[in-house]
């Protein structure tokens, strides 16, 4: 790990002032400290945000508000999360381990870096870590990599589970920067790699995530998170699906399907959503819609299995919600 200056501001304004080129915010540290040890992250200054007043969970007419420093474990146990948002609670509980959930914040979780082994290995070519150096995963071990939304420059996936649930719930992110406060939908927050895989979000330099808002959404209470992985617990997703269905008299008025483990960002399966909207919520219709969940997918040498796994995971999630 390289040396750094350390600052622990107490207000958002101070934090923004102390952030500068080459600085990094530190929340739970479970992604940043790890990457600093690997020499992948090399901040000159660490701005520890843990003393900022960004705690608490509230609800009002705009929805459920999660302050950025809330820990995943606390959110999973919070009655306002459990009540009415099963998909979010399940995604939180499927993330990492109890120890990590006590440390990891919701803000940091959305900004954690990919677990691609080549990104984490400074000896390997990686356009995300070292723009222009190439992508070792394209021809290397890419079993865990993306089948949707990737490009020639990068095939890494976004590893977060909560982000997938929040994508299905159409969550909004409150961002604080030098120019003031703005709100960005999570579904427009993440960028696809294109030619600049090092830039993963629309977050401006120094901008802080201060809050995540889950708006009131018909169907949020009929929702589920299904995570498929190599072992039952404490493992990142091969494929995951966050699904919420708004049912009215047996007919699907609206459905939201987000995928994890398959793309550089949480991936909304719009074709599958459209295929089910306005139809009767039967098992046959659910499976027909699920068959469209991987539309547009392009496999790499080692991960074609993910395409069928996406369809089956979405089909499983829909039938768990009652499509029979």
């Amino acid at each position: 790990m390289r040396p750094f200056d350390y600052a622990a501001p107490r207000t958002v304004e101070e934090a923004l002032a102390q952030h500068a080129d080459g600085a990094a915010y530190l929340a739970g540290g479970t992604s940043l400290v790890d990457l600093m040890k690997l020499d992948v992250a090399r901040p000159h200054r660490v701005v520890d945000v843990n003393s900022l007043p960004l705690h608490g969970v509230t609800t009002d007419e705009r929805g459920l508000h999660l302050s950025a420093l809330e820990r995943l474990g606390d959110l999973a146990r919070h009655p306002a999360v459990a009540d009415g948002h099963p998909v979010l609670r399940q995604a939180l509980l499927a993330s990492a381990s109890p120890q990590l959930r006590n440390m990891a914040t919701i803000g940091g979780n959305l900004l954690q870096r990919t677990r691609c082994g080549y990104f984490r290995d400074t000896a390997a070519a990686c356009n995300k870590r070292e723009p222009g150096s190439g992508c070792a995963a394209r021809t290397g071990d890419n079993r865990g990599h993306a089948v949707l939304g990737a490009g020639p420059s990068c095939v890494a996936t976004h590893p977060s589970d909560p982000a997938v649930a929040l994508s299905a719930l159409d969550a909004l992110l409150e961002l604080h920067g030098a120019d003031g406060v703005r709100e960005v939908p999570l579904n427009s927050f993440y960028r696809l790699p294109g030619e600049t895989p090092q830039t993963e979000t629309v977050l401006r330099p120094g901008e802080l995530i201060t809050r995540v808002t889950v708006p009131p959404l018909p169907g949020a209470d009929r929702s589920v998170y299904v995570k498929v992985r190599d072992r039952r617990s404490y493992e990142f997703a091969l494929v995951s699906a966050a699904v919420a269905v708004d049912l009215h008299d047996g007919e699907v008025r609206g459905v939201r399907i987000a995928l994890g483990g398959v793309a550089p960002r949480p991936w909304r399966a719009h074709a599958a959503e459209q295929a089910l909207t306005g139809r009767e919520f039967t098992r046959a219709n659910a499976l027909e819609a699920a068959a469209a969940a991987a539309d547009g997918a392009e496999p790499l040498s080692g991960n074609a299995f993910k395409i069928e796994l996406v369809r089956r995971t979405v089909g499983h999630a829909l039938t768990r919600l009652g499509g029979r």
């Binding site: 500068a20 990492a96 109890p98 404490y234």
Partner: protein, 174 residues
Amino acid sequence: MTDSTAPRPPTGDHQVPLELQVNGRTARLSADIRTTLLDALRDGLGLTGSKKGCDRGQCGACTVHVDGRRVLSCLTLAVGAQGKQVTTIEGVAEGDRLSPVQQAFLDHDGFQCGFCTPGQIMSAICAIRDGDTGSDAAVREAMSGNICRCGAYEGILRAVRSAAERTARQEGTG
């Protein structure tokens, strides 16, 4: 440290004074700013019970309690742990009397080589307190962040369940 000009890579001496609250005592030491809580405990304070397994937050051998919650000391910067109550495996017994969870690990052979055991025990104490140990499946899930390379999981499972049941009985009888 608080100016807002763009920082250059710091050079020279990175030693900082640290004040940590560990097992009910105040400990002062001088350490490099990069020091993790795990290294501060082991190398700075000689508390070598917390183990360095992977040093990447994956194995759980470094599990300690910070303000009563189980966390990974290898991904915690020592500088950020100041002002918080840190408890390590060295702080859970009362004198010579082992804590019920320690005793249960002995009684049920909850280990082979013992390297992961301090982390397992620190983790189990919280899992039991949080009520996440009501069934074999619940224990497996609640303890999934602690890897045992010897594969002593069956013994660990029995130890945690037995300690949980004992705790429940004691609480039930007041």
